[in-house]
Symmetry: D2
Subunit: 367 residues, 4 copies
């Protein structure tokens, strides 16, 4: 085995570069995987643009599909050579946060003191790949807490089919799971990018009988429709809030899912929500949010607002792959373009500028 590998690093605002790095050593609870397929996420574009701070020199990317190259001495139940994925978020399930119900919020061992004698959490600290440690856009990836995070891929599924499990599908489905959906519900999903598409599919999977997808991109709305979204609304063609209130006979939706991260989608989601309804928020917001009092019943509407970070862990990945295996949904269709690792700057350029109707790209280190 080589000792060096290629890796895509953040070199400073506006610059990503392919560099040679040492293949990392494998500690007792780690696993080294050889990446066979990975992808670029909207968050990577934020990093590239310098909008989300990571340390220069860090390998980016957090959506790995690969082959176990080497297992740590304390990791059992896996074989080298086995095909696996790991979640974008790699929780430390031994942490206080995980045992307290919020595994995505802690990936490290934080110690604190004080009256409660307890340990502090760090928000979003479960997101390690390409954020706190080297990530997946490389030839090799070191997976921490491998016993908890390596998920074997069933033989019947291709790399591209499972490529959305680590982040897009897990996040989108969590948006649906956080929306308190019951059989017969009407659910509006604001934005139909990759995550919003998965949120809409998840809402349908959980029993919503009127799923409404909102976007301004006709192609994405068409894909949404083809996956079973009942009604699609193009905000270029109608006043979305008025139209949803009309469609629901003035009742409003049972749940609204925000899948973009902007004030206007957040606000529209609140405006179409029935009293007693749930706003499930997935967006990564970059500025303060406003809750208009007129959409909030002055705080007396029995409303719920739930936020989420993408869930990880091998059981989560197992369940998402079961959805694919069962034929309920084919996420492989999301891959519109393919690149080698060497071509990744082209891939970033295409994806960042949303050219050629790109939805998701597949990156293959070994072309």
């Amino acid at each position: 085995m080589n000792t060096m590998m290629k890796a895509v690093v953040f070199a400073g605002p506006g610059r990503i570069e392919i560099r040679e790095k040492r293949i990392p050593d494998v500690g007792p609870n780690d696993a080294l995987i050889r990446i066979t397929t990975t992808t670029i996420c909207g968050t990577d574009i934020h990093i590239l643009k310098g909008e989300y701070p990571v340390e220069p020199g860090l390998t980016i990317g957090h959506e790995p599909v690969g082959i176990i190259e080497k297992l740590g001495s304390a990791v059992t139940g896996y074989q080298e050579g086995q095909r696996v994925i790991a979640g974008a978020i790699c929780p430390n399930f031994n942490s206080y946060a995980a045992q307290d119900g919020a595994p995505s919020q802690d990936g490290s061992y934080l110690v604190a003191s004080g009256v409660c004698g307890c340990h502090g959490y760090r928000a979003t600290a479960g997101w390690r790949f390409g954020n706190m440690i080297d990530g997946a856009q490389a030839e090799y990836l070191l997976v921490p807490d491998a016993q908890a995070n390596l998920a074997p891929v069933p033989d019947g599924l291709t790399d591209e089919q499972v490529l959305m499990c680590p982040d897009i599908m897990s996040t989108g489905f969590k948006g649906a799971e956080n929306a308190n959906i019951r059989i017969g519900d009407t659910v509006a999903v604001f934005a139909q990018g990759p995550i919003g598409l998965c949120a809409a599919a998840g809402a349908r999977l959980l029993g919503a009988t009127t799923v409404i997808g909102v976007d301004g991109n006709a192609q994405r709305l068409a894909m949404s429709r083809s996956w079973g979204t009942d009604v699609v609304l193009n905000f270029h063609d109608c006043d979305v809030v008025d139209e949803i209130m009309r469609l629901t006979g003035g009742r409003g939706v049972d749940s609204a899912i925000e899948a973009l991260g902007q004030q206007n989608t957040f606000e529209s989601a609140l405006r179409v929500l029935k009293p007693g309804g749930t706003l499930s928020s997935l967006g990564v917001y970059s500025s303060d949010l406003k809750i208009p009092i007129s959409a909030f019943a002055a705080g007396l509407g029995d409303h719920r607002i739930n936020t989420a970070l993408c869930p990880g862990g091998k059981e989560r990945m197992r369940r998402l792959m079961r959805v694919l295996e069962s034929g309920r949904l084919d996420l492989g269709k999301m891959v519109t373009h393919r690149f080698t690792l060497d071509q990744i700057t082209d891939a970033y350029d295409l994806f960042a500028n949303q050219r050629d109707n790109v939805l998701k790209v597949a990156i293959r280190p070994a072309a």
Copy 2:
């Protein structure tokens, strides 16, 4: 029986008056109760000031304790002469909203049409007394949907002991119930007025082991302490956010309850909240709310924000009275001043200006 009664009406901004009104007729599902004790709520002060619009001439007040004077022909299981209370919110439990899990949000029969073929809700429409129909600051009160809303008072409890059940206790406890409290939790309650005091007591009752009460009024903090609040913080004496983070060793609280309805308390509640924690909001906000992105983990903190309107109904009232009967809490202590109905303008003056350390007043129509 007389045909006329005295009632306290909203006569226009800044003016309440005692007027003579006809004692109302009793429909098949109604009950007429003779008020023996009622009180004034912070909401009534908003109405008096013209900040919350009600129709001039409406009898105000929504916290009734009284005696059944007459039962509608379809109401069974009660006796005339029985002592009862009814919730401030009188839901129509036959409504779509109630069957859908939000009884406080519908008190009337609203019909709508549209794709879903369903009926619309009206936010907060469960609040009828002193808002949509004549209220409790009168000699007699007509209770709609009496079968659902009349709650017999156990013999062992006085009028003043149960006087907080219809609104203050039900609201404050709902704040605690909405906070997802588990055994061993740390819960901060922002504001220790009557509702905040009940929220703190409710948090303790649900298993929180560190309840932190925040206010600027030393007397209220002392009462809070005497009811079992573990830590009280006076915002005149410390930076509350810093102090709570210090007390929790940097972890933050599991739940924060907002019991005032202002931007600064809402914001502080969010700033002390752990990732994965719940903000339970009780306040009636009078302007748009801001969610500072720095306190919100950019939307990725697995946070929950839950709002509520006071729950009503006879089963709710029965449970609250059980808390009092069991000796877990003595809310009679909240009554600091007593007035007859004829003296009610004095009572409003005292309460509106928070003079003489008033917490709650008791109003007795028959002095």
Copy 3:
């Protein structure tokens, strides 16, 4: 309008008869509906055989589809002439039981005394039609608590399509709802009669990705398969417990739904359940049940056993009809045979003896 109508009454064990009865008077909270379609349920067969006691002379049947003939004076928001259904269970939503979360368990106003000062429930008392009051196998049906229980039928749905909503679909779906299903779950449904078929469809609708249907009737298994059940097992062809453990790799199922009401199905459901799993029981048992300790981890398996009575109410019916309207499921296919009310003894004979591959029959009073 006539004053007399035909009604199917229980005349004693083994005997049902068509009799002339007075069309009932309409009280303030009632509605009279003219039945256009109804059906026979397995419970009716138990009544016919004398296994479930009802008073001789009672009109049986509890699955009404019809037209509002007359509304009580206090019922608003409906029109005479409107097409409606009502649930098999007609809860009194004003009751303590309903406000306490168990509407199906109380349909009347029961008063009790005692230390708690509360009112007693009566198990299953929400089931009134054909059990405590005259039922739906008649030309006319009096619906009590009509404001809560009348559900308008959307124009796009036929009588036969909504005929399963009042009981079969509501019960089967409740079995799925009670099973704590999450995305990616494996769920086994024991028995694939009408209720088990709906439970399997409900499990799929809620996100189960491996639904396993078990029965001994090949035709029912084929229908189950055609509705999307992933795996069907005929107990004549395999040891069902062994086969399910093999299919799940020794893990067991996440949830098992019992849809027959016998010891052997209950026991098999428990034997295939993973530690931490849920057994959702729908069956009406006629003798004591045994929990084999070997299938119960000595009481240490974090197991859940949930039972249910069919939910009713207009909001429940609205949601079930939404499932049908959305095209997620077509329950009209369940009707295999059609009869007039005059032919009902033939219908009972066919259905009781499960002849001619009958699944459900439709009965039309006005042929």
Copy 4:
């Protein structure tokens, strides 16, 4: 440091012996703790009598309080010399079962194959100490998955105060948590041994306002009363089922907790349960259980039966210790007798025969 230690082993039915064993080696994820205080559990008595099978030669005991002697190389955030406890159940939080919500059900890495491609659970496999690996009745204890399971003891709490946290308190409180308790509930707890006492205290802590404790031992009932149980019933003095139905005015209890593990307590718990109520079962049953159909509404009562195994993990322990620190409950009072490790056969004799009003014993290896 020595290489040998004293340990209490199961030597065969009816025989426990103190033996010399090697102090175990410490792997990367382990911790070695020097036991300062431990106790004997009812389960140990079952093991002693040969009723619960463990391998001869195994060190028994599962309730450790001690000092960290040595930490594994991969364990961080602790110091040698720190005082800690570990739960009786030491889950592997990396396991599928733990990530799936049932940590107590898996403590090892089980691999299986099959259609689902998943890994099997082993019921109760989270219970390792004194069951699958050497336990706590010894001078030293090896704690597996130490990062997840070591819980630092706050300075203000003594060994005896926290001695109940690992098992008795965690189990009893889980019984209350599993009972779906809401404010104002009536909860009956069947048996008031150490676990039942904790279940009753837990029910009160969660908002039950009428807690009823049932036992035949007057001393235990007196202790229960002193901890705040509202009503105690001695089954020698009354028909418990009749008395509870009388106390609740015929309504039945909202929740019943079974804390013994016998048919008669299980059955009584079911007989006093309201329709819609929850039976939370804690007992370890040694034979098949019968559900009397007459107490089960034929399966139509919307009943819930929940079982549990004691929860473990450092966050659970932290929360339980917070209850003690907050002064809500003083479990140190449960210790009625004290022994050295050398005297342990006397301790077993006393405890097994329930002599001298023993409730719990404290065992100190270093007297």
